[in-house]
């Protein structure tokens, strides 16, 4: 069971909002890059987010670049999972590859600051603040398998190959 606070974002949060190109020189200095996570969407986010919190977004979260640094710094600051109505393809795969859960659900009724409880195994989100329960869609089998191993690198280290 994961428990934390919701940080609410709108639609079309791009990888440029999360880790802008102007900070490309920090990509080999991840702790420094993480201090700027989501800076262009909410400059106060990095200083307010706590380990265990959730990013809650609208449609098409993570569109744009293939830079894996975007989910990487989100994970580094301790975000438990990303909840969104939809997620762009490359970002989705990158997050799962890093062991960061991405949950597709209708986030309309979750507000900024709500206390959430997520049960990954049962596929439910409990919005404690609003006494509201949601369910999220199941991941495709292969992604679930990768996520359960903690990401793609541990998965390949364990199996030596794709085991579909």
């Amino acid at each position: 069971m994961l428990r934390g606070k919701a940080f609410k974002f709108g639609d079309n949060i791009s990888t440029d909002h999360i880790t802008p190109g102007r900070l490309a020189h920090l990509r080999s200095n991840l702790p420094e890059l993480a201090k700027h996570v989501l800076e262009d969407a909410d400059p106060t986010f990095a200083s307010r987010v706590k380990a265990g919190d959730f990013i809650v977004a609208g449609n098409n979260f993570g569109l744009g670049s293939s830079r894996e640094h975007a989910p990487l710094v989100i994970k580094m600051v301790g975000v438990n999972a990303i909840l969104a109505k939809s997620v762009a393809r490359i970002f989705f795969r990158n997050a799962i590859n890093l062991g960061l859960p991405v949950l597709i659900c209708n986030t309309d009724n979750i507000d900024d600051g709500d206390e959430l409880e997520v049960d990954l195994a049962r596929g439910t989100v409990n919005d404690i603040t609003r006494a509201n329960q949601l369910t999220f869609g199941k991941l495709p089998e292969v992604m679930l398998h990768i996520l359960n191993e903690g990401g793609l690198i541990p998965y390949i280290k364990k199996y030596g190959d794709f085991k579909l």
Partner: protein
């Protein structure tokens, strides 16, 4: 039942009967990373315990995003990439040797290939009927090490085009119109497959522009058939032997088909801060522009620079509008020099950047000031994209960019042609 192009290529490369929705493991014909995603790719490759590349001759590093490097951090990343190339024997294209997608198009991709790159615009090679898609560093690191990757075979959306571009209208206007129509997530997880008789009139350069922006609609790949135009292009690049015809089967099944009449299009512009936020260029008349940027993997080819040079010949840019031009590759630059285009552009007041991504992603060479407006021929106008979240980016065709550089405000190119 017949197969889409996506199903055909993934069937061949996975040795299975691949149908949309299936999960397959496919051999990759080409795998690459660039200087902003390559260092993490190398670290993931090493974290996985790999010591050797599956196919060094099919593995490539490109130093194109910071070319040449503007700071110490990027310079040190470049050193890391060079060291990795030395150790593993992979190919490396150094600073100044061009944008990854342009080099893949000119020299490497061929019909029927599976290509994965740690860069979202890897989709550009879909114009050559290659199943080419962007992935993150972990996936690409595994493809470096194993020479293969997994795919969910995408459903395909058929984009049928008819007619010809009217005077002053270009491939860029079409693809912006297309994204405006289906939305920035209109093709998420899907393949876009282009067809129709309008394609017979479309050059490879135009097809690259369109395939390049498939990802801006969320698509996994934007595929064109390999036809006589593809063959002509590969021959002109000295790669005629790389050609094989590739078409979807007539009875392939598509999620849906959308029709477009090229003749009905007008110069189109995407407004800040999303690519699907489109309007007609003429509707934006009066919008003052401080910087015009022409280049990138979308529109930095010879044909693009030729249009700009034609429009600017004997004229001068607006005094309050910077004009920055970045050819996509040395081949483009050299040909543009020989054709006199560069001479024309410099006389018109342009700044010529070395082949590379230039100002596109806000690393250097054209970072916008607070409150400034830019008209760019790139593929993205997200907030902060060109180095400053307080700036505003409009996307348009090379013709619209040239017309805008002349007048200092967003201008329908038909007004100055």
């Amino acid at each position: 039942m017949g197969k889409t192009l996506a199903e055909k290529i993934l069937s061949q490369k996975s040795g299975s009967d691949a149908r949309s929705g299936d999960i397959v493991i496919a051999q990759v014909d080409l795998v690459f990373a660039q200087d902003t995603t390559g260092p993490l790719t190398i670290r993931q490759f090493q974290a996985c315990g790999f010591e050797r590349l599956a196919n060094p001759e099919k593995t490539i590093l490109f130093l194109d995003h910071a070319a040449p490097s503007p700071n110490r951090g990027m310079s040190n990343d470049h050193i890391l990439l060079h060291q990795f190339a030395q150790q593993t024997g992979c190919l490396i294209y150094d600073v100044g040797e061009g944008i990854c997608h342009q080099i893949v198009a000119e020299s490497l991709a061929k019909p029927g290939d599976v290509i994965v790159g740690a860069d979202s615009h890897t989709v550009t090679a879909g114009a050559l009927a290659a199943f080419a898609t962007g992935m993150g560093s972990s996936d690409v690191a595994i493809a470096f090490g194993l020479g293969k990757t997994w795919f969910r075979v995408p459903e395909s959306i058929k984009i049928m085009v008819s007619g010809k571009f009217p005077h002053g209208v270009e491939a860029k206007d079409f693809v912006l119109h297309l994204i405006g129509t289906i939305g920035a997530d209109g093709a998420t997880y899907k393949a876009l497959e282009f067809g129709g008789d309008g394609m017979d009139n479309m050059s490879m350069s135009e097809r690259f522009t369109i395939a390049n922006m498939a990802v801006e609609a969320g698509a996994k790949v934007g595929l064109f058939p390999a036809d006589r135009i593809t063959e002509g292009y590969l021959s002109s690049q000295g790669r005629g032997d790389h050609y094989q015809p590739m078409f979807a089967d007539r009875d392939a099944s598509y999620e849906k088909t959308i029709n477009f009449d090229l003749a009905a299009l007008e110069p189109t512009v995407a407004k800040p801060h999303n690519v699907d936020n489109v309007a007609l260029a003429r509707e934006l008349k009066g919008t003052k522009i401080q910087q015009v940027f022409i280049g990138t993997c979308t529109n930095g080819r010879l044909e693009d620079i030729a249009i700009v040079a034609d429009t600017l010949k004997g004229k001068r840019r607006h005094p309050e509008t910077r004009l920055i031009v970045a050819p996509a590759s040395p081949q483009v630059l050299l040909t543009a020099i020989r054709a006199g285009y560069i001479h024309t552009l410099v006389e018109a007041g342009a700044i010529i950047l070395p082949p590379g991504c230039g100002a596109c992603l806000g690393l250097h060479q054209g970072v916008l000031g607070d409150g400034e407006f830019c008209l760019s021929t790139a593929n993205r106008n997200f907030k902060g994209r060109m180095g400053n979240p307080e700036a505003f980016i409009y996307l348009g065709s090379p013709a619209t960019a040239a017309a805008t550089a002349l007048t200092g405000e967003i201008t329908d190119p038909r007004e100055v042609m």
